[in-house]
């Protein structure tokens, strides 16, 4: 036990002197978080903002008025409707005074009633994409309703409904229509804020680099020749490997904790329950460390080990959503879920949404499963550097 600690402490001391671990484990990820937050973080504002719509409606057109009136009834956010001339409507949007211009053509109402083509010209301006999308969708709904009466009348004619009853038919269609109620059931949010996803993703990605400074030291010791000396020492050979694993684990836990702490302070992110977050960090580091054991086993030289590590880190990082979330569903989604970085980010999403220890079972199971799998594989793959 004392020998294990001697090796671990000596390794940690060397890593601290080498400084590379600071660059890869802390400086680069923090710099990336900072820059990403400047760019991505600032473009994501979820709150809906009021918009102004400039409309031009032909005088006395009842259906056109219905169309425009529907805009005022959107309750998710306020829409100001300004009635202006057709030319003015477009000009306002171009000038940035309104986000949307709606120009209803003359004879719109009549055309709709008769089922003839009717086109409403809409111009979208700068910004407020989501709000204008909602306004457009509302108008599309109204247009569908308006055309419905034309459709039912025409269908009535074809089916031989008496001329006298046709007028009532349209009205009836609207009144006997069943109501559809959409009730909002609220699910707990497991989603990190954009800044939170960024901090978690970068912490996860660079964890895979940081843990390399421990276990991959095995390959360097082989190259340096110190491995031979270590194996001649009066201790079980397994201790050497255990010490390297411990170094990886300590470096990984420290770096990830620092990154999450600094990240959440700087970028105003809350990851929720510290206990649950700590469990997630411990599991993620275990998974990442197990991966390094496979590399240490397969790589012949330190250079090969570093290359293999970078490839795995980047592939798992991108697939785990370190740079941008991957929205895969179905089988692809399930496969992506097995990625320890994805599980780590997901776990942090659960805790940031208020989840506690009891709620992070799935991501913890995935990460621990990955750790066990990794260790098992590292025992099974041929050891390419063993022969001294």
């Amino acid at each position: 036990m004392r020998q294990l600690w001697t090796m671990t402490a000596s390794d940690l001391r060397q890593r601290v002197r080498d400084r590379s671990v600071f660059i890869f484990g802390l400086v680069v990820p923090l710099a990336l978080m900072f820059v990403f937050n400047l760019t991505i973080g600032s473009t994501n504002d979820v709150a809906l903002t009021p918009i102004t719509v400039s409309v031009s409606v032909p005088a006395g057109d009842q259906l056109a008025a219905t169309l425009v009136a529907a805009l005022g009834q959107v309750d998710a956010f306020p829409i100001t409707v300004d009635e202006v001339s057709a030319d003015e409507a477009g000009a306002r949007v171009r000038a940035g005074k309104a986000q949307l211009a709606v120009v209803v053509p003359d004879g719109f109402g009549e055309a709709v009633r008769q089922g003839r083509p009717a086109v409403v010209d809409v111009t979208e301006g700068n910004g407020s994409k989501i709000e204008t999308q909602i306004a457009l969708s509302v108008m599309q709904g109204v247009l569908d309703h308006l055309s419905a009466s034309a459709v039912v009348v025409n269908a009535g004619v074809r089916s031989g409904v008496a001329q006298a009853r046709l007028g009532a038919l349209a009205e009836q269609a609207a009144t006997v229509m069943p109501t559809v109620n959409l009730t909002e059931g609220k699910a707990s949010s497991e989603q990190l804020s954009p800044s939170g996803a960024l901090v978690a993703g970068q912490a996860g990605l660079f964890l895979l680099f940081t843990v390399g400074f421990g276990v991959l030291g095995l390959v360097a010791e082989r190259e340096q020749g110190t491995m031979a000396r270590l194996r001649s020492m009066p201790m079980r050979p397994g201790l050497i490997v255990a010490a390297k694993g411990l170094v990886s684990y300590i470096l990984g836990v420290v770096a990830t904790t620092v990154l999450l702490t600094v990240g959440s302070r700087f970028f105003d992110v809350s990851f929720g329950s510290p206990a649950a977050v700590a469990v997630l960090v411990l599991c993620a580091v275990a998974a990442a460390t197990s991966l390094m054991f496979i590399i240490a086993r397969v790589a012949r030289t330190a250079e090969q080990a570093n290359v293999a590590q970078s490839i795995l880190a980047l592939v798992l990082g991108v697939a785990g959503g370190a740079f941008f979330p991957l929205g895969a569903t179905g089988l692809a989604g399930r496969v992506l879920d097995l990625n320890p970085i994805a599980a780590f980010t997901r776990g942090l999403g659960i805790t940031s949404g208020g989840g506690g220890l009891a709620d992070i079972g799935a991501p913890v199971a995935i990460m621990l499963g990955f750790a066990v799998f990794g260790l098992a594989v590292s025992r099974l793959v041929p050891d390419r550097g063993r022969d001294l």
Binding site: R2, Q3, Q14, Q224, A228, R229, S232, M233, P234, M235
Partner: protein, 309 residues
């Protein structure tokens, strides 16, 4: 002190160590002499418990040795061929690290580190990171670490490879001093002079087998007390070789381009006849050299090839 019996170790189809047996007594310096690739390092790796043998046994101070044999490993100090030191750490830190792994600590460890630093003449550079060291300094530290815990068997694997002549001499002197202190030493080298100078007994190893073993004197008698005469020249070399084979004193003639190597009885007496015969056969002599038997000639005699490639 050390008993190795019938060690075998294979790498794929290659049998790197093929039935090696020898023993070393306390206070004895034992040399393994052979060219690169002869199986020296593999033999040492088995003896130091770095790798298991496929068959055969090793005991050190009466205890069985193997990769998991902790007790036997306490008795040995290994000086690997590669510089097994940490470049980021100072000389003192390197010594302290391996000392602790040997189970030493506290005042005795500090005291012993000071002794060893003195011995390897690195006391004034003890605090510098070893990556700043010259090649010779690194080699000395490499040996110092092996000595730190005062092992009863010190294993040195080609400790002078790539070392300048001055440092080499210093290393050889310190090894000579060590064996005087009752420590058994196992020394591998492909330098004949080192083996001759340091070792009480020498094993000549080639192709994974010990070809011969004994003191220097015993090994040289294996050549039958024969000397060598080397002739270098131009002209009718083949004809000269044929003519020389006819001389009574000449036992064997090996022709290699411009060089004829003759195995002869009593070279000083035979040399005049050899020169006359060669010249008469049409060889223009450039150089004539008389070689009295040494380990090099023993090796040549045993394996038919030169020690250095």
């Amino acid at each position: 002190m050390l008993v190795a019996s019938d060690l075998v170790r294979r790498y794929g189809d290659l049998t790197a160590v093929d039935g090696v047996s020898f023993h070393i007594d306390p206070g004895e310096t034992y040399g393994l002499l052979g060219p690169n690739g002869a199986g020296k390092t593999t033999t040492i790796s088995i003896i130091a418990g770095l790798i298991p043998a496929h068959s055969g046994t090793v005991t050190v101070a009466g205890q069985p040795m193997g990769p998991r044999e902790v007790d036997a490993k306490r008795s040995i100090g290994l000086v690997p061929q590669d510089l097994a030191i940490y470049p980021e750490l100072s000389a003192r830190e390197n010594l302290a690290f391996f000392g602790r792994l040997q189970g030493m600590r506290g005042k005795p460890l500090t005291r012993r580190i000071d002794e060893v630093l003195d011995l390897i003449a690195l006391s004034d550079r003890a605090k510098d990171a070893t990556k700043e060291f010259s090649g010779g300094m690194k080699r000395r530290l490499n040996i110092g670490i092996g000595l730190l815990h005062a092992p009863t068997l010190l294993i040195l694997d080609e400790p002078t490879v790539g070392v300048d002549p001055q440092s080499r001499n210093a290393i050889l002197e310190s090894v000579e001093a060590l064996s005087g202190g009752g420590m058994a030493v196992l020394y591998t080298t492909h330098y004949m002079e080192e083996a001759e100078r340091l070792c009480d007994r020498i094993a000549i190893i080639d192709s994974g087998r010990i070809q011969a073993e004994g003191t220097r004197g015993e090994l040289i008698t294996l050549t039958g007390g024969l000397d060598y005469i080397r002739l270098t020249g131009e002209g009718q070399i083949e004809a000269a070789a044929t003519a020389l084979r006819g001389l009574d004193a000449v036992v064997q003639v090996v022709a290699d381009r411009r060089l004829l190597t003759l195995t002869v009885r009593d070279a000083p007496a035979a040399v005049a006849g050899v020169v006359t015969t060669a010249t008469a056969a049409g060889m223009t002599l450039g150089e004539v050299e008389i070689v009295r038997p040494d380990l090099e000639s023993v090796f040549l005699h045993l394996t038919g090839k030169a020690l250095r490639d």
